[in-house]
């Protein structure tokens, strides 16, 4: 897929909850490039000595009708805070799209489960929408600490069935995503997961136990994002490979995780 460097313009930047930003961008110079679900972008953060390098952020959603690219950003440091505080009309220099995304399950028997936690829910919305476009109904299983930590639920509900877990039981089932009853009530043909690493490892274990194909999306620290610098490697069955180029999405069988 061809990559572009674009000056995208901020349409809106809301904070769905404290510390998180839903950044909607548009391309004033043409249509939004073709992007596959699970791919990411590299955003330039304007002048600051500690944010010289771009920040990698997953594609949360693409709406080609309105020429919009959505990003969901957890503001944890200087770069993400600056991005989270951009104003409508501001410009963000963006490299798009990068990496290899999720495998699109297809066919009438496909029944994918999309599992997300924290800001890891980000890439699942666009992935779910693409599945739906292909006639496959996605099931979302989203986990959070508490009711107030969940975001974008209305958007997920537009795309597929949504199941929730919270650690305090304030909404959905109480516990972790791996403890949800849906795992035993239904049979899924594939699992696709993005979230904190311990969660992905736990989900990978469950999927493996059930003999279901499982993909996870990694967030290794990156410099170039293009497969040029070899900084972002993951130790895989093929040795060290670049997460930015061969990933960020990997089948768990390719990884060396202890699951």
């Amino acid at each position: 897929m061809k990559k572009y460097i674009l000056d995208l313009r901020v349409v809106s930047n809301e904070h769905p909850r404290a510390g998180y930003a839903l950044l909607k961008l548009t391309n004033p110079d043409g249509p939004m490039p073709e992007i596959a679900p699970g791919q990411f972008v590299q955003l330039a953060v304007s002048d600051s000595p500690s944010t010289m390098l771009r920040r990698p952020i997953s594609v949360h959603h693409v709406d080609y009708d309105s020429n919009q690219l959505w990003l969901l950003i957890h503001m944890i440091g200087e770069g993400t805070n600056k991005l989270g505080n951009l104003r409508p009309g501001d410009t963000v220099n963006t490299i798009v799209p990068l990496g290899k995304g999720f495998s699109l399950a297809s066919g009438s028997v496909a029944k994918p489960l999309l599992v997300g936690g924290g800001v890891g829910i980000a890439p699942l919305l666009y992935f779910g929408a693409k599945l739906k476009e292909q006639g496959v109904e996605p099931t979302f299983l989203l986990g959070a600490r508490s009711k107030d930590d969940l975001m974008q639920l209305d958007e997920f509900e537009k795309v597929g069935r949504v199941f929730l877990t919270t650690e305090d039981g304030s909404v959905g089932e109480k516990g972790f995503v791996t403890q949800h009853s849906i795992w035993n009530q239904e049979t899924f043909t594939s699992v696709h997961c993005c979230g904190p690493k311990p969660m992905m490892v736990a989900v990978a274990k469950v999927a493996k136990g059930k003999g279901v194909e499982c993909e996870v999306s990694l967030e290794n620290m990156m410099a170039c994002g293009l497969g040029a610098c070899l900084c972002c490697v993951e130790d895989t069955q093929q040795g060290n490979v670049c997460v930015c180029k061969e990933g960020p999405v990997f089948n768990i069988n390719e990884l060396k995780w202890l699951i």
């Binding site: 572009y4 944010t51 390098l53 620290m221 170039c224 040029a228 900084c231 490697v233 130790d235």
Partner: protein, 302 residues
């Protein structure tokens, strides 16, 4: 339009802007953003005789105006390069230069000999200065004797343009430059990264897997510029300057200090199209100040 053509030890570049090893992949990674034929030369990833897995993750940390890396020369080895990568890059219309590393003078020479056989690789850059590998690498680059030993062995095995990349992590870089010149190097490039370190205070641990890493990016520019200035006056062979170059003004400073050509590394990560912008900027500067060629400004600052 000024004449941007420069000559580096028999190697003709259409402009003085090259890309630094380890930061531009094999060029192809950037093909969507830049017309590769508009770059003076592309120095590909560090290549060794045997395949290397490099260091464990994490391999990078951002630092003020720069970054640390400890990639550790991950590459699939020179045989793989010749068989699988060379065919995909040989028709790129610029000088494709291989950065060669090793763990002994013999392994450097053998690796260089493999590359010598490739028609469309007009030069190699000998990396005697990588700070991220335990064996060899920088060990050779930090003494005049070690550097001379490697260059001597490679010179026998390699007939085309031989560039030797110097380490800044030394007491007297001019001494090393003179030693490699004496052994027949056609050019020296400098600087490689400066040894550094970063600590994650919150987690109370080293940020990089092996603790230390090489510092690059704008933060190192004044150090690099000083070294280029000194080395350009210590040797007769052409000097290639690099370290922290992010725009045409930076590049011009290196040329004025005595570099005949320059390389851009880390800033390719920030702006993948920086190389062609710098080449254009150099051209505009020459026109604006009435210089006819790049050579007219090389080393004119005393």
């Amino acid at each position: 339009m000024a004449d941007l053509n420069v000559n580096i030890g028999g190697l003709s570049l259409k402009n003085p802007v090259m890309t630094a090893s380890g930061t531009f992949g094999y060029g192809l990674e950037y093909a969507d953003f830049v017309d590769l034929s508009q770059i003076g030369g592309i120095i590909v990833k560090g290549t060794t005789l045997e395949p290397r897995q490099g260091n464990p993750y994490p391999r990078m940390a951002e630092t003020p105006h720069g970054m640390l890396n400890c990639v550790g020369l991950q590459n699939k080895g020179v045989d793989y390069f010749c068989e699988h990568i060379y065919p995909t890059i040989k028709d790129i219309d610029t000088n494709m230069i291989v950065n060669v590393s090793g763990s002994s003078p013999e392994s450097y020479a053998e690796c260089a000999a493999h590359v010598d056989a490739l028609d469309k690789i007009p030069a190699i850059e000998l990396n005697i200065s990588c700070p991220n590998v335990k064996q060899g690498g920088m060990a050779f680059g930090v003494t005049a004797q070690g550097a001379a030993q490697v260059v001597k062995a490679v010179r026998k095995a390699y007939n085309k343009t031989l560039i030797v990349k110097l380490s800044p992590n030394v007491t007297d870089i001019c001494e090393i430059a003179r030693a490699v010149e004496a052994e027949g190097a056609d050019s020296v490039s400098l600087i490689n990264t400066l040894m550094g370190m970063s600590i994650d205070a919150e987690r109370r641990r080293r940020t990089l897997s092996i603790g230390t890493g090489g510092l690059s990016g704008p933060a190192v520019k004044p150090v690099a510029l000083r070294m280029v200035y000194q080395v350009a006056r210590a040797v007769k062979i052409p000097v290639i300057g690099l370290g922290g170059i992010s725009n045409a003004t930076d590049a011009l400073e290196f040329l004025l200090a005595g570099a005949s050509a320059i390389q851009i590394g880390t800033m390719n990560f920030v702006d993948p199209a920086v190389t062609v912008k710098v080449a254009q900027g150099i051209n505009e500067y020459l026109d604006r100040h009435g210089f006819k060629s790049v050579d007219d400004i090389v080393g004119i600052v005393d």
